[in-house]
Symmetry: C2
Subunit: 302 residues, 2 copies
């Protein structure tokens, strides 16, 4: 992979880490709650969703300074979803990125509240991006449209609904491939696509361009999820931060469990090609970055 | 109490029930999740928060049609908070309004997700109020400001933070009255105040008026919480929907437990007077309605 891409990606990740580490400072919250929220939010990770938001905004000419509060909010929402997914009543995971999961570290009540607060504060951050107090405010109507896209992608018709289906399907055991695809599209794909689309909306992109960016995000999200499932079977425990094969052991609905490794890899590659194809209309450095991001996501499985 | 007020209140409640019963229809979500969300959202209740939002918007001349999506969202947030508060890891309540609480009815995982989805969908509803697809759109900048006020009131520095403090303080047992007041202000007062302020903001009220409405909401919220605690000790089980005295039995921090019933009643009445005082600058039918609402809240304890 081109070193320029990797340097660009690291630069964006650094920018995001800096912003994330201080984005909750202005919220006057109890110290113990702050500790639990930051424990999950600042635990590292690829920062894929905010990076996509920044990149898709840049594709339509909007600089990072305008987008950072919004991008950080996407990571808050992602963090909340991991905390709640790990709860004993949900996936019951003791480990997350090699550390005790939130409820193991702070107890279940604090974990539930830390998740609730990250989700809610995310919307305050997003709204701030479009209000006159922001360092560089985005027009309010654009901000509101982008915020709504994120809310729809995270709520009952997106991530939360997908998580519900995952639970139902895992118990049912006679699920079709089409059902799994729909479930994954809601659970993971919708927020990844909304990360892209919200960046485009903040930058004032029109409906046609937003449709293309949405298609890119959905295909990238599918590729990402398949690769994630493959890595859980074949990856390095030190990178995974939990035992290899733990998802399959829990009877989770993973792509390799359904299709085998080889077909899963083919499906991921096909989704990656779809993502690149959705960008056909765009050229320049930012479009190249988004195309390279597809390679990067696929390359994780190697 | 004047029959006209009670008729007005019932009329607003009817309007809200109608809107609430269909407000999630446009969200394409799994049937089981919808059932769980509607189970809590449509379980009745006083609809105090949306009624305050409608009334404070009307005080500054904005009609109900513009405000309903936003008002309904406030009730979604209130419903989410009740579902999560009832969870085994939190207050562990089996009953809510005389029916099994959400996790008793649907299991813990579904209850967590129904709460998460109600909270998230609420922000989609709020954003919709200011976008061109709305029946009657409010200007985007006003909507964004109102949405931000609600997010701040529900998140780490408001309701979620207050719930965290409640948990910490209940375990500590050596809490000062000032700490309790601060905790209650965050846990209950902030969202009630934000329900009022968001209505005013949607209607385009200025900073001075919003400050007065905020003061009204905070005092009303305090009075409401104290009366709620008193009713839990002295009320009618059929109205409470759970055993009388159940909060005190669980060692919850209630006003009567701290101050006794008589002093609690005095404090509620004083808070009610503060609320009415905050409305001094306002006249007309809507201001009268808001003043009567204070009486109504206090009268519940009789």
């Amino acid at each position: 992979m081109a070193p320029a891409f990797e340097e660009d990606l690291r630069e964006r990740q650094r920018l995001l880490e800096d912003f994330l580490s201080s984005c909750l400072e202005s919220f006057a919250m109890p110290a113990g709650l702050r500790e639990a929220m930051n424990y999950s939010l600042l635990a590292g990770g690829k920062r894929l969703r905010p990076a996509l938001c920044l990149s898709c905004a840049a594709l339509f000419g909007l600089e990072a300074d305008y987008v950072l509060p919004f991008a950080a909010a996407l990571e808050c929402i992602h963090s909340y979803s991991l905390i709640h997914d790990d709860l004993p009543a949900m996936d019951d995971d003791d480990l997350r990125r090699g550390k005790p999961s939130s409820h193991k570290q702070f107890g279940e009540a604090t974990a539930i509240l830390a998740g609730d607060a990250l989700l809610t504060d995310a919307f305050a951050l997003m709204a701030s991006a479009g209000l006159s107090g922001a360092t560089r405010p985005v027009p309010a109507e654009r901000t509101l449209g982008a915020l709504r896209a994120v809310a729809l992608a995270a709520g009952s018709s997106g991530m939360a609904g997908g998580q519900y289906l995952d639970m139902i399907y895992t118990a049912r055991k006679d699920v079709t491939l089409e059902e799994i695809r729909k479930m994954q599209a809601a659970k993971t794909g919708a927020l990844i696509a909304a990360s892209c689309v919200s960046g485009a909306l903040l930058a004032g992109a029109g409906a046609g361009d937003c449709g293309r960016i949405d298609a890119y995000g959905r295909s990238l999200g599918l590729a990402f999820q398949i690769v994630d499932d493959i890595l859980n079977e074949t990856g390095d425990e030190a990178v995974l931060g939990k035992p290899v094969g733990s998802d399959a052991e829990k009877g989770k609905l993973t792509w390799p469990a359904l299709l085998g490794l080889e077909k899963s890899r083919e499906l991921a590659a096909a989704a990656g090609r779809e993502a690149v194809k959705a960008l056909e209309a765009f050229s320049g450095a930012e479009a190249d970055f988004l195309r390279r991001l597809v390679e990067y996501v696929l390359k994780r499985d190697s």
